[in-house]
C-alpha cells in the first residue's frame, strides 16, 4: 500500500505541476482502460515474459482496484480502495460484485452504500448479474437453462466497465472477457 500511495502521490504532484506550467486543466483520472488493459499486457509479455503476480493474467488490473479474483468482503475491498481514491482529482470508481439475491435484501444495499459513503468513496457502484429469460420473462441469475421454463434463450446483462453489456463473451476484447471470467462475488464467502 505504501508503494501505491507513493505512485499516486507522484501522479498528483506531476499533474499539479503540468497545470501550473501550462495553464491547462490536467487531472488524475483512474481509467477503466477497456482496450489498454489487454494490449499493454500483450506488449509487456512480449518484452518481459510471464512474471508471477505481475503478468500471469490476460489483462492488467486497471485503476487502483483490488484484483478481481481476490476473495474478500465488500467492506474489505472498500477499506483498501478508499486509501487511494483521494489522489484522483478527475474521477475514479469503486465497485463490488454481489449476486442476484440482492433484489430481496434492500437492507444490505443500504448498509453497503452507507459504508462506502462513510469511507468517502466519491463514486460507488454495485454490480449485480441481471439475466432474463427471453421466453417466459424470468429474471435473476440464470446458470444454464431458465429454472422456470427450461429455455436456453437467455439474455445476460453484466456491468463490466461502467455500462451494461448484453453479451460479455463477444462484446469485449479478450482481456476484459478474461477479467469477467476471473471476477468473484464479494458476498457469502467461507469464513
Amino acid at each position: 500500500m505504501q508503494l501505491a500511495i507513493e505512485i499516486e502521490t507522484l501522479f498528483k504532484e506531476k499533474c499539479a505541476k503540468f497545470k501550473k506550467d501550462n495553464k491547462l486543466n490536467f487531472g488524475v483520472y483512474y481509467t477503466p482502460a477497456e482496450n489498454l488493459c489487454y494490449t499493454a499486457m500483450k506488449k509487456f509479455k512480449a518484452q518481459y515474459g510471464e512474471i508471477k503476480n505481475v503478468s500471469d493474467h490476460e489483462f492488467f488490473t486497471n485503476s487502483m482496484h483490488v484484483p478481481v479474483w481476490k476473495k474478500m468482503t465488500p467492506f474489505e475491498k472498500i477499506d483498501i480502495e478508499a486509501q487511494l481514491t483521494p489522489y484522483s482529482s478527475a474521477g475514479c470508481i469503486t465497485y463490488v460484485e454481489l449476486d442476484a439475491g440482492t433484489v430481496n435484501n434492500i437492507q444490505a444495499l443500504e448498509d453497503l452504500v452507507n459504508y462506502a459513503m462513510d469511507k468517502d468513496i466519491p463514486y460507488f457502484a454495485i454490480n449485480v448479474p441481471s439475466d432474463s429469460c427471453n421466453d417466459c420473462g424470468y429474471q435473476g441469475e440464470i446458470n444454464g437453462k431458465c429454472p422456470k421454463c427450461g429455455s436456453e434463450n437467455i439474455q445476460r446483462l453484466r456491468r463490466v466497465t461502467g455500462y451494461l453489456t448484453g453479451n460479455y463473451t463477444t462484446a469485449f476484447n479478450l482481456g476484459k472477457q478474461a477479467e469477467v471470467e476471473n471476477r468473484v462475488k464479494h458476498n457469502g464467502l467461507e469464513a
Binding site: P74, F75, L98, A108, D111, N187, G188
Partner: protein, 100 residues
C-alpha cells in the same frame, strides 16, 4: 454437532450482511431439500471453539447484522444440535446484544 460451513458477508439468508452457520444433521428428508448432503449428522467438521470464534469475529463488524442458522436442522435431535445451538445463541445474546 458438526457443521458444513460458515459464510461471512452473506446476503442470501436474512436482512443485511450476516454471518451464516450451516449445521449438519436433519431427519426430515423433505422433498426438494437444498442441502441433502447436510442431512447426515456426520457431514462436515466438528463445531469447535475455533469455528465459534469465526462467528464471533464476524459479529464484531459493525456491518454484520447478526447470525443466521441453517442446515441441516439447527434443532435436530440426531446429534446434540439443539443443546449446542441454544448455548451459542445465549452466548451471542450476551456478547452482542444489538445483533439479531
Amino acid at each position: 454437532m458438526n457443521y458444513a460451513s460458515i459464510l461471512k458477508a452473506d446476503i442470501a439468508n436474512g436482512q443485511g450482511f450476516r454471518v451464516s452457520l450451516f449445521v449438519s444433521g436433519c431427519a426430515r428428508n423433505c422433498k426438494g431439500c437444498f442441502n441433502k448432503e447436510a442431512q447426515d449428522p456426520a457431514f462436515g467438521k466438528p463445531f469447535d471453539d475455533k469455528a465459534k470464534q469465526k462467528i464471533f469475529n464476524e459479529l464484531e463488524h459493525d456491518w454484520c447484522k447478526g447470525l443466521s442458522l441453517l442446515g441441516g436442522e439447527p434443532l435436530s435431535k440426531l446429534s446434540d444440535n439443539r443443546k449446542v445451538v441454544i448455548e451459542l445463541a445465549k452466548e451471542i445474546r450476551e456478547k452482542f446484544p444489538e445483533k439479531d
